[in-house]
């Protein structure tokens, strides 16, 4: 018997459509009615889940949009003007409103609404952790449990953040619009921060499951791309951030082996790096090099590109990287950047200077005792200097601090090696 091939939905279709639908509905009902928008979307999805099990409609995305549109028109009709105006005027007003609603569901308006929603979620009156949670929930269509998994917290914490954000939106009467002039510039900075955070959360949190981490990185990239495709968002810094994400993401699959152990940069199989993403990254890097403003993202993407350009770890241009880190330090003098710069110094053969600079980081005493990465880097430098007692001390320290099994394993192997050497 001939069997039909399995029906397939586009990956993440529901998530992406959810974001679009919430955006359009929030534009229709207003940000203060965000929950109503989310309810309409959920209803449409439940209907789809029920009806499509036995066969997909020809255009699933259009089916969902149509369902949301009809529901929106229903609500507009129900909440109409009949009570306040004469029947004749009410009818006319309702007809006009319906036309506008239909207009909002057109392709171009949808992408515009999505961007407005991103801007609303990143409103400066919201706390940063609330901005992140709200963006993931509304723009990205993540469920509460998925957000909790991605951000390594529990569902109750995420519920609280979402509730707080929605209250704040109502209280401050946040508008559903794209800011103009200097306000646009300011808001874009917040959006960049949220997207950068989303990406890094996915890229760096070794503790979370592989799948959700990758989803988070891909989602940050998708939103950044969305931003770059709109006139308001197509700025050099947007392209720089997009370049940074592509170049970093190209190494995603080469950083962990089949046993979930971490593979560090020197040992990574560079042939596993995603060349397509690297090329895309270079392309965006090119597009970013206009205008006067040199953003953090410009420098960070240049650093990422430098690593991608090196044919092997040994051929890395450390001198150039050091220059880039010097520039970065000038824009963003944070302990982590200082630490990373010291690593590059070490790779340039200036191990002692690197040690000296790490010790000079403000608050280093506390940092070493609270964040494993500092002792891990120090241990590395001590190993290079064959100072095994200090290396052992630092390795033991970082093992105690990290919560990641993969990190513990890697550091444990080094500790065994250091103990062997010193014996």
């Amino acid at each position: 018997m001939q069997t039909a091939p399995a029906q397939q939905l586009v990956d993440h279709l529901f998530r992406h459509e959810s974001g679009k639908m919430v955006a359009v509905l929030a534009r229709i009902f207003g940000m203060h009615n965000l929950e109503m928008a989310e309810d309409v979307v959920q209803e449409a999805f439940l209907k789809a889940m029920q009806a499509w099990k036995f066969g997909l409609p020809p255009n699933p995305a259009a089916w969902l949009m149509q369902t949301a549109r009809n529901k929106a028109i229903d609500i507009v009709r129900r909440e109409g003007y009949a009570r306040r105006y004469s029947a004749e005027l009410a009818e006319q007003l309702t007809a006009e409103t319906e036309n506008t609603v239909v207009q909002f569901f057109s392709e171009h308006e949808i992408s515009d609404s999505q961007l407005r929603l991103v801007f609303a979620c990143c409103h400066p009156s919201l706390k940063q952790e609330d901005q992140v949670a709200l963006t993931l929930k509304t723009v990205s269509g993540f469920g509460v449990a998925e957000i909790a998994r991605a951000l390594l917290t529990n569902e109750a914490a995420i519920q609280k953040r979402l509730y707080r954000a929605k209250q704040q939106i109502k209280e401050t009467n946040i508008n559903f619009e794209i800011p103009e002039g200097p306000a646009l510039h300011q808001r874009l900075e917040t959006v960049y921060t949220v997207l950068y955070l989303l990406f890094n959360e996915g890229y760096n949190s070794i503790n979370a499951e592989e799948l959700i981490r990758k989803d988070l990185c891909m989602e940050a990239m998708r939103l950044c791309k969305l931003l770059s495709e709109n006139k308001a968002g197509a700025k050099p810094s947007t392209y720089a951030l997009l370049a940074l994400m592509c170049l970093q993401a190209s190494r995603f699959d080469s950083r962990v082996d089949e046993n979930n152990s971490i593979i560090l940069l020197p040992q990574q199989n560079r042939s596993k790096w995603d060349q397509q993403l690297i090329q895309l990254g270079y392309c965006y890097l090119n597009q970013s090099s206009t205008g006067e403003h040199l953003s953090v993202y410009h420098v960070e993407s240049a650093i990422a590109a430098e690593h991608c350009l090196a044919a092997s770890f040994g051929q890395t241009n450390w001198q150039h990287l050091l220059q880039l880190y010097n520039i970065l330090l000038g824009i963003k003098p944070t302990p982590v950047i200082m630490l990373n710069r010291a690593v590059v110094l070490g790779s340039c053969g200036q191990t002692k200077q690197a040690l000296k600079e790490i010790m000079a980081i403000p608050g280093i005493d506390v940092l070493v005792q609270t964040q494993y990465i500092y002792s891990a880097v120090l241990a590395d430098l001590y190993l290079t200097l064959r100072d095994y007692p200090n290396a052992q001390k630092m390795l033991a320290q970082s093992i105690a601090l990290t919560t990641s099994g993969a990190e513990k394993k890697l550091l444990g192997e080094r500790l065994a090696l250091a103990s062997q050497q010193s014996a």
């Binding site: 399995a6 029906q7 789809a48 889940m49 029920q50 009806a51 099990k53 036995f54 269509g141 469920g143």
Partner: protein, 112 residues
């Protein structure tokens, strides 16, 4: 081989699904139907949309519902071929919604 009707009674918890969970649930259904078709035991099937009306009693009173809130709402049915009621129940065990609290009613279709 006789025909059996598998009647799917919806999972209560499914209305709390995230978009990604809904999509993966649906993908599981596609896979299940495909495997039944491949075995040549799938005859037909249809889904019912949520909501509806109920007509009841001598006066044919029409009320709204069944509602999603009520515990047992039929979501759809399959007609499948099986040797026995037990074998048909085995097929019903494949429903992707069972882990979410759904149930499957298995009935033999009478042949006149």
């Amino acid at each position: 081989m006789k025909n059996f009707m598998l009647i799917f009674i919806n999972a209560e918890r499914s209305d709390k699904f995230s978009p990604e969970e809904m999509q993966s649930n649906m993908q599981q259904w596609f896979g299940w139907i495909d495997s039944l078709k491949a075995q040549g035991i799938y005859v037909s099937g249809e889904a019912l949309l949520p909501g509806g009306k109920t007509v009841k009693g001598a006066n044919a009173i029409v009320t709204d519902g069944p509602f999603a809130e009520s515990k047992e709402v039929v979501g759809g049915y399959f007609i499948v071929k099986a040797e026995s009621l037990e074998a048909a129940a085995e097929i019903g065990k494949g429903s992707p919604d069972l882990p979410h609290g759904a149930s499957v009613e298995v009935r033999e279709v009478m042949k006149f």
